[in-house]
Symmetry: C2
Subunit: 198 residues, 2 copies
């Protein structure tokens, strides 16, 4: 494994490299959203070999959660598994509940808000893009829908709209209600987008 030239004046150890990759990823995700960023482009931005990115982060989703959200506890493959396990008629509800659990954590985490900078909408955007790609689209595909990409994006857009209304628009009463009260209405919307026939 070879290393790309390192910034001068620093002697990066293990943590430094990981931090450099994380910072580069945060910049790229912030600027371009989730879809457009590849692990290769993160390596280039960080000035490290792509193999190092794979060494420190198990996947793009993992890198995104750690770099952009500053959370290490959001295990995306496990999240998807939780959504798919259990009764079919409660898929939407489970998808919303898991999302809110992590979003709630993220909302509370100061690092998260700091990472987002002044434009909170960009953060919601990247998160919903990631959710659409890594959770919702695979869920719709799991239920055999040929238009899984569109279905996943509609599900993500339902959450995006609510998050923007809460954080960006500050629409009342939507903004001040607990996320828990939104599980039923949003859960049914996601059920419709991801599972049911149209």
């Amino acid at each position: 494994m070879t290393l790309a030239p390192r910034p001068r004046g620093r002697r990066p150890g293990r943590d430094d490299t990981r931090g450099t990759i994380r910072a580069a990823a945060a910049r790229l995700f912030q600027a371009h959203g989730y879809e457009q960023v590849s692990l290769r482009s993160v390596a280039r931005e960080a000035g490290v070999d792509p193999a190092l990115v794979h060494h420190y982060f198990s996947s793009k989703a993992d890198l995104f959660c750690r770099a952009t959200l500053g959370v290490t506890s959001w295990d995306i493959p496990r999240h998807l598994q939780e959504v798919l396990a259990g009764p079919r008629e409660e898929v939407g509800r489970r998808a919303v509940r898991s999302f809110f659990e992590h979003w709630d954590v993220a909302e509370a985490a100061q690092e998260y808000v700091t990472t987002l900078g002044p434009d909170a909408a960009d953060g919601s955007r990247a998160v919903t893009e990631m959710m659409g790609r890594e959770i919702f689209q695979p869920t719709a595909a799991h239920f055999g829908h040929a238009n899984a990409a569109l279905r996943g994006q509609l599900a993500a857009s339902a959450l995006l709209g609510v998050m923007v209304s809460r954080h960006h628009l500050d629409v009342q009463p939507l903004a001040s209600l607990s996320l828990r009260t939104l599980i039923t209405p949003l859960g049914r919307t996601l059920q419709h987008y991801l599972v049911e026939p149209w």
Copy 2:
């Protein structure tokens, strides 16, 4: 009726005053969204008597459509009437269809895009806020729901999420599909938010 002091060096006629009000309203709606702006604040911003605003524009919604969207054809009370008329089980579908008809017009209108400036999301935002307040909330109230404000905001958020995904995120395939193909999935979501029991 008295006029507030007019800008010097101009001799405003009828059209000038109307244009001044429109420009003032566009600035305020763009900066603060729909809810927070009153006709009184528009009059203050324009430097005219509030009675003049009422003289030229039939309502806040009317002023919004003309000032922000640059469309004169979007008759909000009539739009609401169209949503409520017809079979109860197709309310959501009718609401989405009417919205898309006007949004499509707005998308196509060059003045609209110009008015929005670089931040198209602000435009979607103000429109969805207006729709929530003037169309969706009254619709949910019409069907006897005590939580009509929340229901209206959820319906607006469903459209906002899709519009931001299309115009701001450029999510594919969602962004390139014709609005027509989205009537069925979104219509059912709005039906659920506005009409059905939770």
